[in-house]
Amino acid sequence: MKRQMLALAASAFLALPGAALAQDKTKACFIYVGPIGDFGWSYQHHQGVLQLEEELGDTVETAYLESVPEGADAERAIERFARSGCDIIFTTSFGYMDPTNKVAGRFPDVKFEHATGYKREHPNVSTYNSRFYEGRYVQGVIAASLSKAGVAGYIASFPIPEVVMGINAFMLGAQSVNPDFKVKIVWANTWFDPGKEADAAKALIDQGVDIITQHTDSTAPMQVAAERGIKAFGQASDMIEFGPETQLTSIVDDWGPYYIRRVKAVQDGTWEQSDVWGGFAEGHVVMAPYANMPDEVKALAEETEEKIRSGEFHPFTGPINRQDGTPWLAAGEVADDATLLGMNFYVEGIDDQLPN
């Protein structure tokens, strides 16, 4: 009795958040690698969470940790979530792969969802990712249709398969319109440094490209392109506000549908391990409205997007040669997902060299 009183007093003093209430709510927890104010990768994940809250209302409770460094801190952050009563934990960066699996082994009753990785060492770990390359292919088609110089500038972050795959898809899309199309690549060695991204965009424009696309997070390249009067593609979010007369379209990461589906599955008790790699068809990848281009280019872009969405066409369909001219895919052959996920070579026509 006395102990109960004490506990009651303690909880009254500390006003511990309604432990009883939490029982009938599903708790979904998220770990972001950047600040939610990055207006890029982490921001878009958080937008997905806001969609989730709106859709599921009172039946879901969410929590997040932002700017969690990939390294020793990640495991602690995930474990803290697992211990704090989360039913499902989304870890939204590749670097969280091993910590996620480690913690998952210790908490078999909690569901774990790791973005962009490939390890599912326990039945309670799923992985998910988006086929951004579908959008990149469409961008390539648009770029080659519009570019007078026949050269596009590509601001890349780091040479990981995801980025290499994007460059290749862009190039294949461009080659489908103009076989001699060229792309100039600058590696910024950062996901996020607006100043450096702006510098990279300027360097590319000064070397004669007349369309810019980026695989880094900030809106800086869009602003530079607007200032210099050329066209550009956005990244991660719709950046039209930063270049109303500049943005052709943007690949928007839309994680909301997936988060809603998975949390609902937890609520229904139907959650199962899965490996989802969604593109246009699943709503993971959304193209921002096509703008600032002639109608026939817009029509071509829409047609390409629709073909990919319906499954009629796969961007990586042969014949495709590797950079050195050796054949990779025979005519009509479609690349398998495993090769794409581990892609570390360029297709023919790209001048850059990958570190090896």
Binding site: A63, G71, D98
Partner: protein, 366 residues
């Protein structure tokens, strides 16, 4: 109204003990005000910040994991700062140490034996020390400012690591993702008490390093030499000590310990090399070195406190919904209070209502 400091004849033992608690009191008051202003329950927020991370065993382990590299680096830096050498590139030495130590498990994964781990630790120390010797030699020989060189070398080390894990050292079975193969069992720094959490031997090394350096600094001739050269290079020269040798010595010690911290972090807490292995330990350790008053034992305490603020910040984010930014602002406030309260050790603070009478034009008042 002005604040005036009056130097105490000698450092106050009382305030030496008391100042951290005054700082804590001020922090609680200011923190409560901050959280209240943000519409949070201050009692709850402070509880999660300071108490929650301490009442579970796993969380104590995490505290040790977080504090280990900070303490290891900071005690090494204290030798540098005491001898007036400004090594602010411990972050780079941490990275190079981690890379040097990883040579064995990454390049020779089939070499599996109990000697691997000790060799890795030695290589880690050697790598960190070697990298630290660059600014040291440049300073001793060419008089180049070590502040600049050690800082610039941090960026170089980060890029070098980045290139290695994306290129030559990439895990052949890792789908070309930027990470090395995971270390085998012989290359993994064991946990101290595996049943209850993941604190590894790095924490023990940190405590040992602090004890050893405390002994060296306070009880040996070398410690005297370090302090003398730091306080008065001229006096040091007259005593026959070499400034150049001290530059090298202090950099080797701090670089070696930073390197050890690096290999312990990689081998104990992460288990492989990745493009980013440190969330800025080398810079945070500079703060810790001074919070601990450049005393190795004080540094242990300071390292634990700062580690606690990271853990507490997370707990408060999750439980009370304080944002990461608020946690960092609060962390900055804590640091300011601790630093300010340490003033009481050497000075009495007097509030003066009117400007002091100016005599002979030899006063400098605020």
């Amino acid at each position: 109204m002005r604040i005036e400091l009056v130097k105490r004849p000698q450092r106050s033992a009382l305030f030496s003990m008391l100042s951290p608690f005054i700082a804590l009191g001020l922090t609680l008051v200011a923190g409560a005000a901050l959280f209240l202003a943000l519409g949070k329950n201050p009692g709850e927020a402070l509880y999660y910040y300071f108490v929650d991370p301490l009442h579970e065993t796993w969380s104590l382990h995490e505290l040790a994991v977080k504090a280990a590299p900070l303490i290891l680096i900071a005690v090494g830096l204290s030798v540098c700062f005491r001898s007036n050498n400004w090594n602010i590139g411990a972050e780079g030495q941490f990275i190079i140490g981690a890379m040097a130590g990883s040579i064995l498990p990454v390049m020779f994964p089939d070499f599996q034996s109990w000697v691997v781990l000790p060799l890795m630790l030695l290589l880690g120390v050697a790598g960190g020390a070697a990298y630290a010797s660059i600014p040291a030699v440049l300073k001793a020989r060419f008089n180049t400012s070590e502040i600049l060189t050690s800082l610039m070398l941090v960026y170089v080390a980060q890029l070098f690591l980045d290139w290695m894990v994306r290129g030559p050292w990439r895990n052949p079975a890792g789908f070309n993702f930027p990470e090395t193969r995971t270390f085998h069992a012989f290359a993994t720094l064991p946990e101290i008490w595996p049943a209850s959490g993941r604190a590894h031997w790095g924490f023990i090394f940190a405590l040992l390093a602090a004890l050893v350096l405390w002994f060296v600094m306070t009880r040996t001739l070398k410690g005297f030499e370090i302090r003398l050269l730091g306080q008065s290079p001229r006096a040091g020269r007259f005593a026959g000590f070499s400034r150049e040798k001290m530059v090298l010595f202090s950099f080797l010690v701090s670089g070696g310990l930073a390197g050890l911290a690096g290999i312990c972090e990689v081998s104990g807490a992460i288990g492989q090399l990745r493009p980013i292995i440190s969330p800025g330990y080398g810079f945070t350790a500079i703060i810790i070195a001074f919070l601990g008053r450049l005393n190795p034992l004080g540094i242990v305490a300071a390292g634990l406190v700062l580690a606690l603020t990271y853990l507490g910040g997370e707990a408060a984010q999750i439980s009370v919904g304080l944002s990461d930014k608020v946690a960092r602002v609060f962390q900055g406030m804590i640091l300011f209070f601790v630093l300010a309260c340490d003033t009481l050790i050497h000075y009495r603070i007097r509030l003066v209502a009117e400007p002091a009478v100016r005599g002979e034009g030899a006063r400098a008042d605020v």
